[in-house]
Symmetry: C2
Subunit: 572 residues, 2 copies
Amino acid sequence: MTDWDRLLAVARADAPADLLLTGGRLVNVFTGELEPVDIAVCGERIAGVGAGYSAECTIDLGGSYVAPGLIDAHVHIESSLCLPSEFASAVVPRGVTTAVIDPHELANVVGSLGVRYMAEASRGLPMDAVVMAPSCVPATPMATAGGAITADDVRELFDQGVVHGLAEVMDFPGVIGNSPATRAKLDALPGRPADGHCPGVTGPALNAYVAAGIGSDHESVTSDEAREKLARGLFLLIREATNARNLDALLGVVTPANNRRVCFCTDDRTPVDLIEEGSIDHMVRRSIERGVEPIDAIRMATLNPSEWLGLGDLGAVAPGRLANLIVFDDLSSPAARRVYHRGREVAVDGRLTASSATLDVVPPADRCAVDAGAIDLAIPATGHVVRVIGSVADQLTTEHLELPAKVIEGCAVADPSRDLLKIVVAERHRGTGNVGLGFIQGFGLNRGAIAGTVAHDHHNLIAIGADDASIRAAIAEVVAMHGGLACMAGEEVLARLAMPVGGLMSDRPIAEVAEGYRRLVDAARGLGSPLADPFMAMSFMGLEVIPKLKLTDRGLVDVERFEPVPLFVDAA
Amino acid sequence: MTDWDRLLAVARADAPADLLLTGGRLVNVFTGELEPVDIAVCGERIAGVGAGYSAECTIDLGGSYVAPGLIDAHVHIESSLCLPSEFASAVVPRGVTTAVIDPHELANVVGSLGVRYMAEASRGLPMDAVVMAPSCVPATPMATAGGAITADDVRELFDQGVVHGLAEVMDFPGVIGNSPATRAKLDALPGRPADGHCPGVTGPALNAYVAAGIGSDHESVTSDEAREKLARGLFLLIREATNARNLDALLGVVTPANNRRVCFCTDDRTPVDLIEEGSIDHMVRRSIERGVEPIDAIRMATLNPSEWLGLGDLGAVAPGRLANLIVFDDLSSPAARRVYHRGREVAVDGRLTASSATLDVVPPADRCAVDAGAIDLAIPATGHVVRVIGSVADQLTTEHLELPAKVIEGCAVADPSRDLLKIVVAERHRGTGNVGLGFIQGFGLNRGAIAGTVAHDHHNLIAIGADDASIRAAIAEVVAMHGGLACMAGEEVLARLAMPVGGLMSDRPIAEVAEGYRRLVDAARGLGSPLADPFMAMSFMGLEVIPKLKLTDRGLVDVERFEPVPLFVDAA
């Protein structure tokens, strides 16, 4: 008897189901109505919805609501600083049974290998991971990343069944200008979904971005932007990331007539946020609070992403689809009381009940190839005025400042009295020994230093400090952990978190990682930083595609001119 | 400069468009709103929607509405009795720019060759034909069809780019019971849409049909049936065929919350209906008359079928999609004043303006292999009581009657005084010489006979008449035309229509075909038939899958018992 024979026999009610959920009120995402029906499950799939079924195991839901498991339409698991299994342990009890993942960060460290690793490490979890192929690795030639993904890699990943489509195509100038490399990646997966990323793109440029074959965008921050993108045919993925909270601003755009084109995504969430606030479940509740009809909010987290991405097995409670279900009691504020994944109960009352998958996948090798002792942190004063990265609280963009250098013994040094700190980016992937040096304002450390191996997108070792000794010690501490985050005062370790998986992820439980992360943030703030999250802020100071001034391992980049610039404005 | 370069240059407004439509009000199917925008076209595609464009040719729409070209989600072009080019000439001026076609009828005559022919004959038309692979050819082993389509044929047609998905899987018992042959066809096109056909299937059987991988159905006739199918996840294709008008009955099911899952289709329409009433355009207008919001009605005919079938190039006015557009003046009753197909104006004020495609495709060879003179029409009276097909006006189902035979000179003969006519089905595809003989009530011919080569689904030569001489003459007339329809009184031709393409389609203009068809119907009614359309009624009297009693070239079939039965109830 084949799986098909058995599934259809159960569907026909000719054989007992494995599991029968009775007495529930189904949130029917097709009709937009509540429907009192039984749900018969056979193996991993729903066999029947309706009446007339019997089963080995019957559970009476006693009038609770049942809905499809929630789908996060776009997320970088790496931002949880945890492995997929631990990410799942945080979101699955909240009802997120599918994550559409873009392993872009690990790909920047180890290329296709990182994509394969994230796919492998997501197998056997109580969550379905739909892997998208990172499309812009490396981000630019102005930094040294550890990996690269070409159009051929994309095609190979697809042919091998690793990826489902193309992940956010951040190189929107390349898409709009039809650059051969970007075109080749789009052409690599004909007919497959290509996720977008086009912040602020409007008018004819937006038309070009859409015409090129991009189908969605999650970068809208204003209503006008979201409205235009919807009208031009992009699926609107509303994002509520830790550092980019767009839900409240964009909900006003959503109407009963357009909400079929709206999905939810978290993009990047810290472990602390995932544990304390949640994931897509939070977005559903928040949307309902803000006036969206509950069934519509649930559709945005289920049927809509399934339709956008062509995930016909997911996103609805219907015969033949995977039995990913959430059970909850309050339609006005859905909080999963019970979660089923592929027919198996995997969480009850917010706690994972599924046995953890045994992860026998070898993580990508350590790439923290930096010799802390050998780095020359000195900046010979070849001029009097330096360019300074002016970081702005809660923004990824920076100011491009020009300030007098503080010179001691012929070298420009940090000057904490002016919040003028030294910033260092040390190439860690290839052993080039490249080190970029510069100055930054806004981090407010009175003393000590912070360092880490999370530095979008190249993920070199980045450090910011008030003195060279602390910076060197922080770098050494991070290298000693084979990647991670550290906060130091001189030689004293104030807090640290080892992230040996590509220098991006811990292999520890998410609660422990969250606690470690909280301690790091507290420590950095204890050193005087006014920033809510100095580590996340630091991780964007090396991102050479977001204006205005950034530092890579090759030196300062004037992002507006898209070219390297010297540190001294008035160099001799 | 590649096509992509040019398209994106126009989209960016860096190069002039080929065509710019200004001053229109776009029916935006994504947002459900009207939007005053310009539409810039480059080659076959829309490059930009919005402002800021210039063009070689600008047309001011003066406040008219613009919407995507309409999509017929399921149609057998053969039912128009015309070639695809003539079908298009009828529907394109009405705004139907895409037909999702199931060349099931021709496939029953010549197998895969018929599918290829219909695909080829649809190239270069002012309409996109999306070809689906017929899934149930032949319908059963109880009739002799001319062609067969296996799972391997389906896969080959797909691999060669001929078909997009699997057409209506009418063998619903095979789907529900997971018969190996049906399973093989579903498995042949993994991940592709499989259209359904499951009249009256409900409860666990419906669950099984859906679980098996079917995605739509167009056979609902009652609200309850349609509601259940929608709730279980099937796209509801509302059908308004010549002989199956379901629109009025089903519109009550459609709500703003579920209409995204509803599409329109015509299935089978005679040339007369296509010319007089129209196609999907008629369904849109009728839906609006019956209270559906105009933009929702248009979405059901555009974006929805595009989403159901994954036709990302069609169904919306958006950058990158094919420039299939209709322009009309009255939103409450859309009637295309101007039609664009792939950027080209193809119809104005209901008249085709595009040059007709030159059809250099050789039609399938004549398969009217019947020797009229050699057929033995005599029915030796081996008993006294005969089974009689009791045809019922406006229904495809028949009664299974048992009546005393009229016997003359040892043979059972027609008895027009009791409306007891002789029915003949002569195998015409393979030269087997098979002839099925029987009696039928309900056609009401006082004298003469009608005959034709349209007899679902095997399409053998079928005739009904009041005397053997007329029957033989009608058969001979049809054979002489290499297929078609004829109405005779003795040797006198009252009306006829040659359909040499597979015996199913004329190669003449549709207006001429419609006129010929009208004459045939008038002639048959002139012979006494009370039926609105005796030829269409006759074409279903050989269909051995619709209860209760039918005649094939192998004799009578008791469809309820799904087995052959003898003509005489009391045979010695």
